[in-house]
């Protein structure tokens, strides 16, 4: 009997470990597996719906000639209440020339209506009539970007960070580009490829939505998921207002009903309601150390900023902690700021070139990027 005792103990230990693993597996399945399956099923349903819509429109569209009907835009631009897309419809000149002259009536030129958006009028000093590009700035009638590289030293090492001050004519110029231009779980794409595919003037890494099994996620007006998030939430409304909420400070239905252009899940939210550094941040130990960071800030509708901090590079930049990043935004004068995916993902590109120094050098595949863009800007360079 005594000879059997060690063997029995061994069996008991193995059984304990197996039961523990089973419990762990169940938790992981309910926490990750099930939401992943749901997300995939939603993706499939969305894809099927999109294909059905395309087929319906193809049938309805007049098809007089041999030409194939025009493709239907799969992602409608985010609706904006405050700002209409600028310069889309220039009124045609009045054709009263010959008839008018013959009858001796001098045509009075009608005053050209002001097609500028509310934001273009408000920030007129920042926009230019022509596209003006330098190594650190881009200005046009619709977009104004100025990038500055600064240093931060809290006494324990230098950090280099890049601040892009952004003015846009409408939210059509400030969007999120998702990997492979699709809303799919686990969809990723090389950051520089995304930069080129999105025709972006300026990009920073986003919240890696595609690896998030649940949350409240909206991309360019399209609802991807509508679960209550476990983290702070950042919402860019159709009006251009950006707001950050703690995880228990909002109701998904209420927020969605107000018209959401973007909803990002990552965080934390960096500033309090008065635009000051918060007294404390709920962070795990792994992300509380100085790290490369990526964040978006908000001043007022139409005026935003991107900040990317270089880090994990000895002798150049060590990175920032979250309170240090919050301090940067407080000094910039933002009223709302939100931390996005940092670490090896933190990247800023400008005019299709890397502007920041990514910590892993070779780059990384990302789920999404925040982009500032303008139609046809590459042709006007």
């Amino acid at each position: 009997m005594r000879n059997n005792r060690p063997k029995e103990l061994w069996k008991v230990v193995v059984a304990d470990i197996l039961v523990g693993a089973l419990a762990l597996g169940l938790v992981v399945f309910f926490q990750l597996g099930l939401p992943i399956l749901q997300a995939k099923s939603r993706s499939r349903a969305r894809q099927a719906q999109r294909e059905q819509q395309e087929q319906t429109v193809q049938v309805i569209a007049p098809n007089g000639g041999a030409e194939t009907p025009a493709a239907v835009p799969t992602e409608p631009p985010a609706p904006t209440e405050a700002a209409e897309p600028a310069g889309e419809e220039t009124p045609a000149p009045q054709e009263n020339g010959l008839d008018g002259l013959a009858s001796g009536v001098v045509p009075t030129p009608e005053p050209t209506p002001d097609t500028r958006t509310e934001w273009q009028i408000r920030f007129a000093d920042h926009f230019t009539d022509e596209v003006v590009i330098t190594d650190h700035s881009y200005t046009s009638p619709q977009v104004s970007i100025t990038i500055e590289t600064k240093e931060f030293d809290a006494g324990n090492g230098k950090s280099v960070y890049h601040v892009a001050d952004i003015y846009v004519a409408s939210l059509d110029n400030f969007r999120t580009y998702t990997a492979n231009n699709e809303l799919e779980y686990w969809s990723t794409q090389d950051a520089m490829e995304m930069d080129r595919d999105s025709h972006a003037i300026l990009t920073i890494s986003g919240d890696f939505y595609s690896y998030q099994p649940k949350g409240f996620l909206v991309r360019n007006g399209e609802l991807y998921m509508s679960d209550q998030t476990w983290c702070d939430l950042c919402v860019l409304y159709d009006s251009g207002v950006m707001a950050c909420y703690g995880r228990d400070e909002y109701v998904v239905e209420d927020v969605w009903s107000r018209g959401v252009a973007q909803a990002w899940n990552f965080g934390p939210s960096l500033l309090d309601e008065n635009g000051h550094v918060k007294p404390d941040y709920e962070l795990s130990e792994a992300v509380s150390f100085p790290n490369p960071r990526s964040a978006v800030g908000y001043y007022e509708p139409g005026h935003y900023c991107f900040v990317v901090v270089d880090g994990r590079q000895d002798g150049y930049s060590k990175g920032m902690t979250v309170p240090e990043l919050a301090q940067v935004f407080e000094e910039l004068g933002c009223t709302c700021a939100y931390n996005l995916d940092g670490g090896g993902s933190a990247l800023m590109t400008f005019l299709h070139e890397r502007y920041s120094r990514q910590s892993n050098g070779a780059g990384r595949e990302l789920g999404d990027m925040l982009i500032v863009t303008e139609e046809g800007w590459e042709d006007r360079r």
Binding site: V12, A15, D16, I17, L18, V19, G20, A21, L22, A23, L24, L26, V27, V28, F29, F30, Q31, L32, F208, Y211, Q212, K214, W230, C231, S284, E285, A286, V287
Partner: protein, 82 residues
């Protein structure tokens, strides 16, 4: 009965091992949100019940052992009289 008596402490150990693993995983990647899900809450509740059951069993065993010891040894007064 013997099986259930053996099961409770082992279950307790297993569940706490799983809980500890989740806490460690969360330290490395809080984005997975293990500690904020409902499944984690269920695990904690199970752990709590298993722990209470194991403690009650331990307390019962202790009382039983105490009773046995008393039966074997006569009370102090009886010893003095002898």
């Amino acid at each position: 009965m013997k099986f259930w008596r053996a099961l409770v402490p082992n279950l307790c150990i297993s569940l706490w091992l799983a809980l500890l693993t989740l806490v460690i995983l969360d330290q490395y990647n809080p984005m997975l949100g293990f500690l904020k899900g409902r499944a984690f809450l269920v695990l904690i509740v199970l752990c709590a019940f298993a722990s209470i059951a194991a403690a009650a069993q331990l307390y019962g065993d202790y009382r039983q052992a105490l009773r046995r010891r008393r039966r074997r040894r006569p009370p102090v007064d009886e010893q003095e009289q002898l």
